[in-house]
């Protein structure tokens, strides 16, 4: 094809690119935008997915312990097993002795309880798998929350409805901040902390009153949790 150039010259040029290069170039813009947007969306969803947060994922345990059976069925208080929760940073995993309080009398021959009996015989702890694993750079204290009217169920969910234990919430910082920014939306009377079924009639009025009464502050400085 003869082409007249601006510099006055006239040369024969061959096609460098085929006609489809035009559509390809246009498509690359659209594909590029979609790829970038898609990558962002996939990333955002990934870090919120149970695959990453372990939310709602049952962790297998040496003994298939049912909170539903023990809490809802038998009416055992949280503190019977997690007896440190009111005074310590850690709620605590009960020692085998606590299990054997009852299980030396009931279900003494049950196969599923063999690891418990073995632990009792040998003195070796049962290797329970921790379900709620906070990042090690986040400081968390159970007693501080329990004593200011944060119910167990607020973070751990309806434990009395869980046959096998799982993490009910994401445990991500944004989730912590939901309550730390507006504690009045979640606090409950101190004597209802261990009540799994409690719901507020008018959280707005109650929350405002409790925040005042318990002197609850919205703690959102970095060093509240990252010490």
């Amino acid at each position: 094809m003869a082409v007249h150039f601006e510099d006055g010259g006239k040369r024969f040029v061959t096609q460098l690119f085929s006609k489809s290069a035009n559509s390809l170039a246009r498509m690359s813009i659209i594909i590029g935008v979609f790829t970038l947007a898609g990558a962002g969306a996939v990333g955002a969803l990934f870090y919120r997915s149970p695959y990453y947060t372990n939310q709602n994922v049952v962790r297998s345990q040496p003994v298939p312990f049912s909170h539903e059976h023990h809490v809802a069925g038998l009416g055992i208080d949280c503190r019977f097993c997690h007896f440190n929760v009111e005074t310590s940073a850690y709620a605590g995993i009960p020692p085998t002795h606590v299990c054997m309080t009852c299980h030396s009398q009931v279900w003494t021959e049950a196969g599923v309880l063999e690891p418990v009996r073995e632990s009792y015989r040998t003195g070796e702890s049962i290797e329970w798998q921790k379900v709620h694993r906070l990042a090690d750079y986040a400081y968390f204290n159970h007693s501080a929350h329990i004593n200011k009217g944060v119910g167990c169920a607020s973070c751990h969910g309806q434990v009395d409805d869980m046959r096998l234990m799982f993490q009910n919430e994401t445990l991500q910082m944004s989730w912590c901040l939901e309550c730390h920014r507006e504690p009045e939306r979640f606090v409950r009377p101190k004597d209802e902390v261990f009540n799994m079924a409690w719901t507020a009639v008018d959280q707005k009025a109650l929350g405002a009153q409790l925040v005042e009464e318990y002197d609850i502050q919205s703690k959102v400085t970095c060093t509240t949790c990252h010490r």
Partner: protein
């Protein structure tokens, strides 16, 4: 029709005319402008001088890579920063490099809107200089964070932490200012390159070069519609880039001015920083232009008219900067604050870093006064030396601002000295190496002067316009 060696020699002589150099030496045609400029990247020969210069610069760049690797391995403790001087070389170099970039944007955006024809011969490589300088600048705050792989925290994105960056902090404004600046500069530069890439594609003999430039030219055919769109785009981009000339260094100055440290908390800082940025940027353009026009024989296109104009800009912005220095002293006294007074007189002028203050005054205020003489403005050797002196002076200015203010502020019990380490210096030299490596590759890879814009300066182009 290419130029004969005699014609080239004559044009170089006209370009070097110290009395009355034109914007472009006469005798050029559409063809010869294209050939002179496009011939450099399209030539097969690798010239000795270029290769030696490139290798030296490349060595510097490797020093940078080495310093970064060592820094990532050991942490920022390898630098001289301490408490109270937490900012050190990293921030000095950041401000210095960002400032240098400003000349490119001023030339390509503001002078375009002002229809200054002399800008056409220098805007392409001034813009390239901007991009490389901003790349160097961006490295420093990134590495100064200590954990650059967490630097995405600086950007507001919907994170699972439920937190946004601290929008009240000028350090976050900086992220936006500099990243916007880098983006607009790159787009502006690339859009301006498209017609010339089309020329390269049409003239290239090598298949690979043809393919690459063809792809980058985005199917440029030089049709009236293409030109119309091109003019529209470059005008819009110039409009976008114009506020950036002022805003970027204003925001950089907020890093200091918003702080409460004596000597930083000054309302003068934004305009004073912008003037300093343009001052240092033009000094760097001159530093680069003088050897480039000489080595590639482009004196007919980048004439003494350009050099003298740039020298005048240097003088003007130098006077702005000098005004800034005098006002800093005035504010120190007029504030009646003992800390400000102490900073200006006892600390900056007579303190342990007093030498840097007086060197700065010597470089940026006193030496610049020689530019009142035309003889200096048109003497390339003198101008080159002076541009280097100003580059040094502008670096010292940031040294004085960062170090003297930080090393002794309100509490004498927490005063301390700052000494750079080997790695501070290595990294600074390394970025110069990176910058020069990029420049060397740039002049070899793409037309360093805008071919199509220069062609509009030719008498032939003007005749057409009259005929219309």
């Amino acid at each position: 029709m290419s130029l004969s060696p005699e014609q080239v020699a004559e044009q170089r002589a006209i370009g070097n005319d110290r009395e009355n150099a034109p914007v472009m030496a006469p005798g050029y045609t559409m063809e010869s402008v294209t050939e002179t400029i496009a011939g450099i990247p399209l030539s097969k020969n690798i010239r000795m001088g270029w290769a030696v210069g490139f290798l030296i610069a490349f060595g510097g760049m490797n020093l940078l890579l080495l310093s970064i690797v060592w820094l990532l391995y050991r942490g920022v403790g390898i630098w001289g920063i301490n408490s109270p001087v937490g900012w050190g070389f990293a921030i000095i170099n950041f401000v210095w490099w960002v400032g240098i970039g400003h000349a490119g944007t001023l030339i390509s955006a503001i002078l375009l809107l002002l229809r200054q024809q002399w800008r056409m011969s220098i805007n392409r490589f001034a813009e390239a200089m901007t991009i490389f300088a901003v790349s160097c600048a961006g490295l420093f705050p990134l590495l100064h964070t200590g954990r650059p792989w967490m630097a995405y925290y600086l950007f507001p994105y919907p994170s699972t932490s439920g937190m946004w960056p601290q929008f009240r902090s000028p350090l976050v404004w900086d992220v936006f200012a500099v990243s916007t600046y880098a983006t607009v500069s790159i787009v502006f530069w690339y859009v301006g390159l498209v017609p010339d890439l089309g020329t390269m594609r049409d003239r290239a003999k090598n298949k690979l070069v043809k393919f690459l430039t063809g792809m980058l030219a985005l199917g440029w055919r030089g049709s009236a519609r293409h030109w119309h769109r091109y003019e529209m785009a470059s005008l819009l981009l110039a409009g976008l880039a114009t506020p950036l000339v002022v805003s970027v260094h204003t925001v950089v100055s907020y890093d200091f001015a918003v702080g409460l440290i004596p000597g930083w908390h000054v309302t003068l800082f934004p305009p004073y920083f912008v003037a300093g940025a343009i001052f240092s940027g033009f000094a760097m353009v001159i530093t680069l232009a003088i050897p480039i026009r000489w080595y590639f024989g482009l004196e007919g296109l980048v004439t003494l008219r350009h050099m003298e104009n740039m020298a005048k800009v240097l003088l003007a912005t130098g006077m702005c900067v000098a005004y800034g220095y005098s006002m800093e002293v005035f504010f120190g006294w007029y504030s009646a604050s003992r800390y400000e007074e102490y900073l200006v007189f006892n600390n900056r002028m007579l303190g342990p870093y007093g030498w840097s203050y007086w060197m700065l005054i010597l470089c940026n205020v006193i030496s610049v006064q020689v530019l009142w003489f035309r003889w200096v403005r048109t003497n390339m050797f003198a101008l080159f030396i002076l541009s280097i002196i100003i580059n040094v002076g502008m670096w010292l200015e940031r040294f004085v601002i960062v170090i003297t203010s930080l090393h002794a502020d309100y509490l004498p019990s927490s005063w301390g000295m700052y000494y750079p380490t080997f790695w501070d210096i290595a990294m600074f030299i390394g970025t110069i190496g990176f910058f020069l490596t990029s420049m060397f590759l740039f002049v070899r890879a793409v037309p360093m002067i805008s071919i199509f814009e220069l062609r509009t300066l030719l008498p032939q182009a003007r005749v057409k316009e009259v005929e219309k």
